[in-house]
Symmetry: D2
Subunit: 308 residues, 4 copies
């Protein structure tokens, strides 16, 4: 009559995840991610979702279909029934972005209480990135190695000097909480980070995105591909199919695309101009950001923009 | 050098909790609470707290002292590292209070999708409570059984009639989401409720309190005494010592109590009046709420109020 | 050099919202929504977003384009800078759904302290809905009025009886907190509900959806169309263009749609079957839920499903 | 009949806060806090609390008493009805602690998009603090100025060098998001920070505490004493009386204190030893942390520890 039949009475274990419990997945030059503990699995998502369906629906044993349906339709609460606890080592600069995700439990290594971790993220000579021209907050392309070498050398000097000053202060007896004040943002920190699967997928959809900074993206990719993929493989596949690799067409996109599909090129261009996706100046078409996004989306459907 | 040494690499299991996994603890006439899954233990609290202490402090192997220190000083984040998932069956009226605790994950039984659970909370003839005179939102004392019998009989009539109407609607083909609209608040619902230990202790400190309504208090007592006590026994004892059985003296209480302790009765009374704890009218002392609270607190220290 | 120039030093007021401050927008037979207070406006969203752009970008004075960009790309934090406080009157049954949105501040009318509001939601004779066949949790179509009349009459009997019992208990001196236990879910409650714009838009996108139950949808529509539309008109339009009226194509949808666009009907059908959107049994095509969703989405692009 | 009468229909303004809107309160050498916007006042707290009391209690016009009652008894939701938005400039090192308070809305200055703020927190020659001996995570006392001068000089060298490297990278065209990676933690950042009064008071109770690090404590003191004191003066006074200046006696404290008050010194000492507050070794009494806390608490009641 009620939901009780639909559940398991023993702790759910996921063998594929148990195998890598405690294993360090390296990230960047000296960072890592590892799973410390977890609760739940694909099965728990189903279990929670079935609460809404009652006993009568146990015959629906298509767990995979159910999980995919939930994810597709943003029924998010069943995914909250899974929880994972990671141990991460991250440069403070990256941690500054990471910590902005508020729906997580955190215990960070304290440099008030303990000595700062003696490691700063180092940039290899072929890893120096150029400022993107188009994207004010992005990077694009790498410096040639001879410039990179110079940059890495100077980085080294600065990191060494910063560590020297830190040590000097400690030797003199300066309080740790004050001595640390000029450590570089590249200094590694560590934390336990515990989060439910729904919020973790949100984190991943933002941080695996190509707009995310390379450093945090590297962590997100490891968490997604190495950890979530093992933990809740069905949810992970659904997430890729319905979130990561989906396209969202706005009502503006739809209006223009309809005309493109009907092969009304001119009308499509006029409509796009009217909706502010493009500008027509002296007969030339200039794409603004939204127009470029549109072009990019429809190219995934194998369609050319009407102005190409 | 870092925090890695301080942790376990296998999933923490708590034998005492494993023993009762899935067991239904009955509450009220037809409700229950049971543990479906959990993550962490007293050990995880310590593990998380040690992050802030680094490797150098592993010699501090007094876990109990550390947990008690954390709880006493409201260092709350290590308690968030423990998570528990309960399956509960609760009257909707009680659930209305329960759900106000926002920091939890919830999947509730859906009466849009399924038939409402065929059970309403029934009040036994000796369980009818009288309105408190002092406390506008409380109850006080029980009705004699002959009145209780009448009340229970009428309750039965109403619950039966409500169920009859619900059934009538369903028989006619009214949508479940609408048919349920006049079910009594006493109708049972069920849910998975997942929460971390820190927020669970907050829930318990509010809902085990004698000001909490009897019904939700009954659930809180079971969760605390039967479940948390087995899960994290050290944290539970600390919670009782430092939260449940503590007294908070306000700066006003302190001012008056200092005079009482110095045996300056008259000054204490004058001060209490000045601070608005009491009123003196025609030489008679009238306690207001804060004065009564003060009297109650110091009685736990074996001290009489100066006006007694 | 920093962000300070980009802000206003006086409280932002929105004239269009000030005009309706305190005005009750009626919902259902005896419910309402009204704005009690608010903070921020479209301007505050821009102000917060500009923090990320620094002083150099003040020339970018296209506020509208910026807000639309933020909403389109799920840069959600600037929308959190706007906050609104509503006073709502809602049947408890609807409130049970409403309160599941956790990121809000709530003060609800207490029936422990005060008498329950003497009003229950009544269903007019032409408002009784039939259970949907396709959608286990939905309704579909209305009963003819002669059946509706009977249902409304019985509803009345039940609501009156429930109120009679409530009154009986109070007259006898039963504690309010217990007397209320069998009130019907249709009983109205009231609350202050305070939420930021980002979370309000999430609420609206879920509750204005046609899958949401009629009752809560009615509230969501009023909040959206009457209140948010006046408060932050640019964000509201963007929300409609990029969230409410958008289509999300999954990677599966994309694969099939590409073939449809290339006019490879047979291949499209084979692909759809392969991906589990449809089943082909004895040469007949059966749509499952995902196939039907696909058909519905592409119809908005003016495209027929390959199997039609 | 309902709660509507108890509210105001126009936006609540607080004159004392309006006066300082936008005013920068300086903190540290180059930081500040200022109010950008707010919503609510002491009056809104009362308004929200009265929801629970209904119309019948309007005669209770003692707003001050009500606010004090709410705060004393941890009825926290009415305080959530007030919201404030600050603009703060803070060293990143301090911001790392600040941001751990999760229940706030944040828009931080982006050094991906813009140049890092050209200012690092500098320590004056008389501001260098020594590591505390007792408290592993605290500081205690200052260095003499001749040592301080040396430390400040070296700080300057490091900060200048870090800025030089940052500039070098930018000149070469390194992406801003990467160029910033070795900036010192002392670099200033700015943010809008929006939070409700309940959560702000939690922040203040933790960060105004003498255990909080000097830097963040400086901000907390300004926010409390300059801003909250003007905004919600009654709630602020209550907060000081019932939270900041209160003492919490644990059940252990109570047991020992009862004996002290009865003047049973020996029994009190025995009890304290039994409860683990003190150790008696060779007849000598050694205080552990809990014993020291006890001693400190009762000294505020004008009582000496039994072992003194």
């Amino acid at each position: 009559m009620t939901m009780e039949q639909s559940e398991k009475l023993n702790k759910i274990q996921v063998a594929a995840l148990d195998e890598i419990l405690g294993k360090k997945f390296p990230v960047l030059d000296d960072g890592f991610v590892r799973v410390v503990d977890y609760m739940g699995s694909d099965e728990s998502i189903v279990q929670a979702a079935r609460v809404s369906y009652g006993a009568g629906t146990k015959k629906v044993n298509e767990d995979r279909a159910l999980i995919r349906y939930l994810l597709r339709n943003r029924h998010t609460t069943p995914f909250e029934m899974c929880e994972i606890k990671l141990h991460v080592r991250v440069p403070m600069d990256t941690w500054r972005q990471w910590i902005r995700h508020r729906t997580a439990n955190v215990n960070e290594y304290s440099t008030r209480y303990s000595l700062a971790i003696d490691s700063s993220q180092k940039t290899k000579i072929d890893e120096w990135r150029m400022q993107s021209k188009d994207n004010k907050q992005g990077s694009e392309g790498f410096f040639p190695e001879e410039i990179g070498a110079k940059l890495s050398e100077r980085e080294d000097e600065l990191q060494n000097f910063a560590r020297e000053i830190y040590q000097e202060r400690l030797n003199l007896g300066v309080a740790r909480e004050q001595a640390r004040k000029d450590l570089p943002l590249s200094t590694y920190t560590e934390a336990y980070w515990k989060i439910d699967l729904h919020n973790l997928l949100n984190f991943l959809s933002l941080r695996m995105d190509h707009h995310a900074q390379f450093e945090i993206r590297s962590y997100a990719n490891v968490i997604g591909n190495e950890i979530v993929a093992r933990w809740t493989p069905i949810a992970w596949q659904a997430f890729k199919d319905y979130r990561i690799n989906s396209i969202e067409l706005s009502s503006l996109d739809i209006e223009v695309l309809k005309l493109v599909i009907k092969n009304e090129k001119e009308n499509a261009i006029t409509k796009a101009a009217e909706l502010g996706m493009i500008k027509i100046i002296d007969g030339k078409i200039l794409l603004n950001r939204e127009g470029a996004e549109f072009e990019n989306k429809i190219s995934k459907l194998g369609i050319n923009a009407p102005w190409n």
